[in-house]
């Protein structure tokens, strides 16, 4: 079993109920995409899976060694270079010292940042920072990999390339990957299953499985994309109304 | 440019509107304490319409600083701070107008030090670097060729007592009532009574000083001050022992909450002589002693004492 989420609810002091009795079973080795409107509780859900946030009620089960997590903001340590940021993850994962330097280079090259090894975070562009964070998440090498909008700050071409690499990595290692995205097409392209969250409170609105057939058929995947977009749009409508009233 | 200006303006201006008098809550300042508690000075000043503002100090340097700044006009002090200030101001800061106390300082040591030669290798203390007892002790050690063998650590009266109690020092050259306190409470004994080192056994412990400018401008007020001092001394010298002890104890307590036991005060009063003779002859010796042991600058005490207000001297 990868990750088990059992009737989990989350209430923030100021905000109230954000996630409401959400349950999901995620198999070992699954590639899951989470879709949902901005502010619906996707990051909060990942935080709970990573053990950074305790649910207000319900429980979650995750592998004991925890999960690798790529945060929504890159969250690099500002006093370490890009290379050292990645190396720290290796060090804390007890990666053999002798091979660390090589592994850092490898990972940074994977995200096209072989040349930026020695740069401090403040000397990197937004997209470069996000890629260093991606390299760091991969460095952790856990069975579960959580990614919070990992490609949001990247241009389409870099993103394409990283999509391929992520699929390849998943195929090779059999990791359980749960990633949050705003991009319906990205979700269809990468994931084996898509969870669509509602907002206010967050519940699972839809679950869709993506077969390789569907993924590789442009027409079918376009149709699914449209369908999901429609679902999301309908959900969004409600809030527009509530927001007008609240404002 | 300063001093000459001040002198140019200085002249007799009659009685002052206010006299600010500094002293310590020490037994050797008993004339000040008694004069205050009995209202002697206040009564005299009232006749001239002069107000009295007493001011308590912890140590000589602060009192001298206050005197220099004009925050006080007169003070009871040990002779050393007065001499230091007199010399470093080239005679411009103050004058000694009367004595208050003499004697009452001893080198108190641990039981196992029986004679001066035992002082070799000991640690001794005095209340203040360059103070009266400090100079005296160093000079004494020098005379006995012990200055390089014994160490002298200046430390405040309270700390000294504690150090002696703990055994961290072997002896201390201190004024009363601390000398008596060390004897009564901490099993010390007087190895040297300082008066034994002076001709006729007389050396100044507390003197009454007045700022030079104040003296020039308000001689009438200074006269009253000296008279009150004289009366207080007379009282101290004539009162019953019991009455005296109680009065001093109460005055000390009122001044700063001191709670010395009666035996300590009684023993201390035995050691101190209250007299208004400023012992003018001793100052040059004091200066010379200090210079001999490398403290302060050599200088002349000429003109330091202005004894015209002392009644006994006039007659």
């Amino acid at each position: 079993m990868g990750v088990l989420i059992n009737e989990v609810s989350l209430t923030y002091p100021g905000t109230g109920l954000v996630i409401d009795q959400l349950s999901a079973e995620i198999e070992d080795g699954e590639f899951i995409a989470v879709l949902g409107a901005s502010g619906c509780g996707k990051s909060s859900l990942l935080n709970m899976i990573a053990g950074l946030l305790a649910p207000s009620s319900g429980w979650l089960e995750v592998p004991q060694d925890g999960a690798a997590f790529m945060f929504q903001d890159s969250n690099l340590l500002p006093w370490l270079t890009a290379g050292k940021n990645v190396e720290l993850a290796l060090k804390l994962a007890d990666y053999p010292v002798a091979q660390r330097a090589g592994r850092v280079t490898e990972l940074l090259q994977l995200v096209q940042l072989g040349h930026a090894m020695e740069k401090k975070p403040h000397e990197l562009s937004g997209g470069m920072r996000q890629r260093v964070a991606l390299a760091r998440a991969l460095a952790q090498d856990r069975q579960v990999l959580l990614m919070d909008e990992p490609f949001a700050a990247l241009d389409a071409i870099t993103r394409d390339m990283l999509h391929e690499q992520l699929r390849a990595l998943w195929a090779q290692t059999g990791k359980t990957i749960i990633f949050v995205t705003h991009n319906v097409r990205e979700a269809i392209r990468l994931a084996g299953r898509i969870l669509v969250l509602s907002s206010h409170p967050g519940r699972i609105l839809e679950t869709r499985c993506i077969t390789d057939d569907l993924r590789n058929d442009p027409a079918q995947s376009a149709a699914l994309a449209n369908e999901l977009t429609t679902i999301l749009r309908k959900e969004q409508r409600k809030h527009e109304l509530t927001d007008r009233n609240a404002g | 440019p300063g001093p000459s200006q001040v002198q140019a303006h200085a002249a007799d201006r009659g009685p002052a509107t206010e006299l600010k008098l500094g002293y310590f809550a020490n037994l050797t300042h008993a004339p000040a304490l008694i004069s205050d508690s009995k209202g002697l000075l206040e009564g005299k000043l009232e006749q001239d319409g002069t107000g009295l503002e007493p001011q308590l100090f912890n140590a000589g340097p602060a009192a001298i600083e206050a005197l220099n700044s004009g925050a006080i006009d007169a003070a009871y002090l040990g002779p050393s701070p007065a001499l230091n200030s007199y010399i470093s101001s080239k005679g411009n800061s103050l004058r000694i107008v009367a004595g208050a106390a003499s004697g009452g300082a001893s080198l108190v040591v641990k039981k196992d030090i029986a004679e001066p030669s035992d002082l070799a290798g000991t640690e001794l203390a005095t209340p203040q670097f360059g103070g009266t007892q400090d100079v005296a002790l160093r000079h004494y050690l020098a005379e006995n060729e012990l200055l390089d063998d014994a160490t002298v650590t200046p430390s405040s009266n309270g700390t000294l007592t504690q150090l002696f109690g703990r055994g961290a020092i072997d002896g201390a050259g201190v004024p009363e009532p601390y000398a008596s306190l060390l004897v009564e409470n901490y099993e010390g004994h007087r190895l040297v009574d300082e008066s034994s080192l002076w001709p006729e056994g007389k050396f100044p412990t507390t003197v009454l000083v007045v700022a030079k400018d104040f003296l020039i401008e308000h001689p009438e007020t200074v006269e009253k001050l000296v008279e009150a001092n004289s009366e207080a001394i007379d009282w101290l010298n004539s009162a019953e022992q019991e009455e005296k002890i109680v009065a001093v104890q109460e005055a000390l307590n009122a001044a700063n909450g001191s709670s010395f036991a009666q035996p300590v005060i009684s023993a201390a009063l035995e050691e101190v002589t209250f007299a208004e003779d400023p012992l003018a002859d001793t100052y040059q010796t004091l200066i010379n002693h200090a210079a001999q042991v490398g403290i302060g600058e050599p200088g002349s005490a000429d003109g330091l004492v202005d004894s015209r207000f002392i009644a006994s001297q006039e007659h």
Partner: protein, 285 residues
Amino acid sequence: MSSLIETPDRTAAPGRTRLRPSRKVDAFVAPILTVLVLLSLWQIASWASPLREDLFPGPVAVAGKLPELLADGSLVSAVGTSLFRALSGFVIAVLIATPIALLLAHQPLLRQGVGPLVSAMQVLPSIAWVPAAIILFGLSDATIYTVLLLGAIPSIINGLLSGIDMIPTQYKALSKVLGASKREHILHIELPAALPGYVAGLRQGWAFAWRSLMAAELIAVGGSLALGVGSLLQRGRDLADLPLVMLVILTILLVGVLIELLFFAPIERKLMADRGMTRTGENNG
């Protein structure tokens, strides 16, 4: 099956963690307990110690001194006097130090010239100022305030400066983009952003203010100057009255704890909560 107390951990499969609602531990007894533990240790030490009681008084002996000091009102009035001086002096120090720090922060040359001197003034002991202050102001409260201010101001300046130094560059960029004038920048961005560092500096400034005050109160113990806690402490030392010394120390500690608990800690907690942080040692993950 959603309640706050959930199935215990052992139902989770081996090699897996079950994440459940966390429980908050409330620990109000801690400070009181600490004090009680320290007091008993002290009493035991004083019983066990071979030192004479007047050299190492236990809490009981010290407490015995209390009624006397309370009866003549000297302790209460000394604390009142010192507290008033310290608080008013501290407020004045803040009012003087803040504009100076802002000036230094915005005048590079001035900062290079004067900055190191400000830091150096922090290491100048308070009594160094006493002779000069007395000569200028005589034996008045002005002297005491001078010594106090010269002690507290440099440390508050340094605190605010280092708070300003730590402001993320992006806030400065924002301020520029929003078209803030210098005054607006200071008011709306710089001061609030530097506030946490500033409060840390204020806490140190308070400590310097209080300690400098104690030094200033040693100049004179009575007369025109009201008796303060510093004078009382000195009196204890002069009279070798250790119970008095201990009592004064305890009083100062008590004042310090109260100022910390009633003033600095709440401000700091508020500031951090405002910024979505918690002090370590306070519940919340």
